[in-house]
């Protein structure tokens, strides 16, 4: 019933919702949420049958000539292959759930309709990215997502921190996007085509120009660094927490950041073609994972902890891509989307309930917020990599790939896995167990509309890992690598070490924080130096401020000075010059020209005074003159 060419409608429904909400926001008011939810539900309705179709083996692809650019005409259209299908499944499901959750969370907010309008616009961007079949359309939707993240982070625009955060997020992702655009241009010059389908053949064709391929790959990877918050450009994500929690959940957990990884997946043939590019990607991924994990250890704000955990997990996915396991990266992306969204929504209901985000003031919330606690526990276990849950399977795949790629990467990623498990459960223990540290907080369970999605995501976190496990004979991996068969070696040692690391982390966390913060402070004092490093986030922000912002300001001041002195000087100089010149010509004009004119006037006045005497007014005088003149002229003439 749902034919292929309806695929266009998937992104268009949220766009329609956005238009309705933004234009008729005043009339729709609090009913705006239902329009957005409805639109995303409709998208799901169209997308899932198509996904089933893709699972069934067909790949839907249709494009139309959009722009004739010189000899080449750029085609736009949609491509539904296994990779897009998985992303489509994740985005539509998680997006709809988060929007339902947001209804409860955002009730009573001032600009309620506008919030949902931006959400719908974001869904349009994300869905556009997922189903687009070429880099240019991909890039356009990518920018729409950037805009939405800016708008949503800066939703509480009256708070200065939120305004700065959204600007910071927008600018840093902008830096990445520039690289991405250059990458597209390079790809266009290299391969002559931007379409994903033809990419693989085009690369094969130009395999010899190794440098060009590496450069294109790395430039495209810049987009990922910016958007998926990899090491140099990751600073905006922690500040992005200023936005409302559903925004963090949707954009900074499940979808937008995942788009970077999706980009690498799409550009995978390029990466396969150049080893250097893959190595760079792997290194960046691993470094990001490790540093983020360290910083998360000492974070006190619940949402900051989750932000740094997202950065480290993204580092994991990018590292997987670098290590040659694109499938593992995507698998971990899918599973991470579920439990990270759940963690954020859980944090959101905790904040909603307690009204504060600081871990030090929470504690003992378990009896009060039963369902949030339980779902939070499931998600923590999943992310920590406890076997039956989704996190274990995907993380295991990545560790396996890392192990095959290089031991150094493997050891780093394993350490990260241990740290992840530790800070997750530090978080869990501090918020839910023990005694409430702040007496005047009266936590209360969130309403049904919020806890519902939590439970659905919890189930998702549990089940979504299974299709990629060896229990299901790695169905997911085969699904993704439909083109070419890949064997699935099972390395038990890697699996066991990862489980061990996870449990160790959990135990350490319980030990340290069961009695409240006491043990933590003592440890912090003992390990003073590393604690301070982690607390200050490796001083990256300060570094940027020092090395980037201040010189920039200096340059600006320099230019301003230059402008003030040189340019203004020149202008004023010419002004003064013309003034002087005009004074001279004024003098000339006044005395010479006016002089002559007045002289002429005076002269004619003088002469006319003489002739005035003739103008007597008597007609006969004139007649006499005329007659006399005629006579004399005749006389002298004829004589």
């Amino acid at each position: 019933m749902v034919t292929a060419n309806l695929a266009y409608l998937i992104p268009l429904f949220p766009l329609l919702a956005f238009v309705i909400n933004i234009l008729f926001g005043r009339y729709v008011k609090d009913k705006a949420c239902w329009i957005s939810v409805g639109a995303s539900a409709l998208s799901c309705g169209i997308a899932w049958p198509l996904i089933v179709g893709v699972i069934g083996g067909t790949t839907y692809h249709h494009d139309f000539a959009w722009l004739a650019l010189g000899g080449v005409d750029l085609k736009f259209g949609y491509l539904l292959d296994p990779l897009a299908a998985t992303l489509l499944f994740v985005v539509t499901l998680v997006g709809t759930l988060i929007q339902i959750y947001a209804i409860g969370y955002m009730k009573g907010e001032a600009r309620f309709s506008r919030f949902f309008a931006y959400l719908s616009l974001f869904m349009f961007g994300m869905l556009g990215v997922v189903i687009s079949d070429n880099f240019l359309l991909f890039f356009m939707c990518w920018e729409v997502m950037g805009l939405c993240s800016y708008l949503l982070i800066g939703f509480y625009s009256e708070k200065d921190s939120a305004a700065n955060a959204c600007k910071k997020a927008f600018l840093t992702t902008r830096v990445g996007d520039v690289g991405f655009l250059l990458g597209i241009l390079a790809l266009f010059t290299l391969a002559g085509t931007l379409s994903f389908a033809e990419l693989h053949d085009a690369v094969e064709l130009n395999r010899d120009s190794q440098l060009m391929i590496t450069v294109t790959a790395l430039l495209l990877f810049c987009g990922t660094i910016g958007k998926s918050a990899q090491v140099p450009l990751h600073v905006w994500l922690p500040d992005a927490m200023e936005g409302p929690t559903p925004v963090s959940a949707l954009i900074h957990a499940a979808t937008m950041v995942a788009a970077g990884v999706f980009l690498v997946a799409r550009a995978y043939p390029l990466i396969e073609a150049s080893a250097q590019a893959a190595q760079v990607i792997a290194i960046v991924g691993t470094v990001t994972a490790l540093t983020a994990a360290c910083v998360a250890l000492t974070a006190t704000d619940i949402k900051k902890v989750l932000a740094y955990s997202t950065i480290s997990q993204l580092g994991y996915m990018v590292a997987a891509m670098g290590c040659g396991a694109m499938v593992a990266g995507i698998f971990h992306l899918m599973t991470h989307a579920f439990f990270k969204a759940l963690l954020f929504l859980g944090a959101g209901s905790v904040i909603h309930g307690t009204g504060t985000q600081d871990l030090r003031e929470m504690g003992g919330l378990f009896p009060k917020m039963k369902s949030t606690a339980w779902t939070f526990l499931i998600a923590s276990l999943a992310i920590a990599g406890v076997p039956p849950l989704a996190g274990f399977w995907s993380k295991d795949e990545i560790l396996l790939a890392a192990h095959q790629y290089g031991n150094l990467y493997y050891y780093a990623l394993s350490l990260t896995a241990f740290l992840t498990a530790f800070y997750m459960f530090r978080l869990f223990v501090l918020t839910f167990l023990g005694k409430p540290r702040n007496p005047d907080i009266h936590a209360h369970e969130s309403p049904k509309s919020m806890t519902g999605p939590l439970w659905v995501l919890a189930v998702g976190s549990i089940l979504v890992g299974l299709p990629g496990s060896f229990l299901a004979h790695n169905w997911f991996q085969d699904f993704l690598n439909r083109g070419h068969e890949v064997e699935h070696p099972v390395n038990y040692t890697v699996m066991i070490t990862s489980i061990a690391l996870g449990l160790a982390g959990i135990a350490l966390a319980f030990l340290l924080y069961r009695g409240g913060l006491g043990m933590g402070e003592k440890l912090a004092r003992s390990l003073a130096w590393p604690h301070r490093v982690s607390m200050n986030k490796f001083w990256i922000d300060e570094a940027y401020a020092a090395w980037l912002v201040r010189p920039w300001h200096a340059l600006a001041r320099l230019l301003f000075g230059l402008d003030a002195k040189v340019v203004d000087g020149a202008v004023n100089g010419t002004g003064a010059g013309t003034l002087g010149g005009s004074r001279v010509s004024g003098w000339f004009d006044k005395y010479i020209i006016d002089g002559t004119v007045n002289f002429i006037a005076a002269f004619t006045q003088f002469c006319s005074d003489i002739f005035r005497l003739f103008q007597t007014g008597f007609i006969q005088n004139y007649l006499l003159i005329v007659f006399a003149a005629v006579v004399f002229i005749l006389y002298f003439g004829i004589r």
């Binding site: 007597t616 007014g617 008597f618 007609i619 006969q620 007649l623 006499l624 007659f627």
Partner: protein
């Protein structure tokens, strides 16, 4: 021709001179008009005499005929104007009518 042409021309010349003197000296507008009639008649005499002598006798007389008609027309309008002036300025002395604006 009963009398030689020169004499008639002299007569018209004298008549013309007298008319001219009249036009230049008369103070009364109607006096001027009368003198102008004199001028025109002097010219007429010339015309007729020459027509009498020249090969094409018709031209002169015809011209004289038209001069008479036009002189009548001119006199009519001139006198109408004089009457109009008299009615507004209450005088027909030319040296009292010299201001363009009254």
């Amino acid at each position: 021709m009963i009398i030689p042409l020169e004499h008639v021309l002299l007569f018209s010349l004298i008549l013309f001179a007298i008319g001219m003197v009249g036009v230049l000296t008369r103070r009364n507008a109607i006096g001027i008009l009368i003198s102008i009639e004199l001028l025109l008649n002097a010219v007429n005499v010339n015309l007729v005499c020459f027509s009498r002598v020249s090969e094409d006798p018709m031209a002169g007389q015809m011209f004289a005929f038209f001069v008479i008609a036009l002189a009548a027309a001119a006199a009519a309008v001139g006198l109408a104007i004089v009457v109009a002036i008299y009615r507004t300025r209450n005088t027909v002395q030319t040296d009292e009518i010299q201001l363009l604006k009254w």
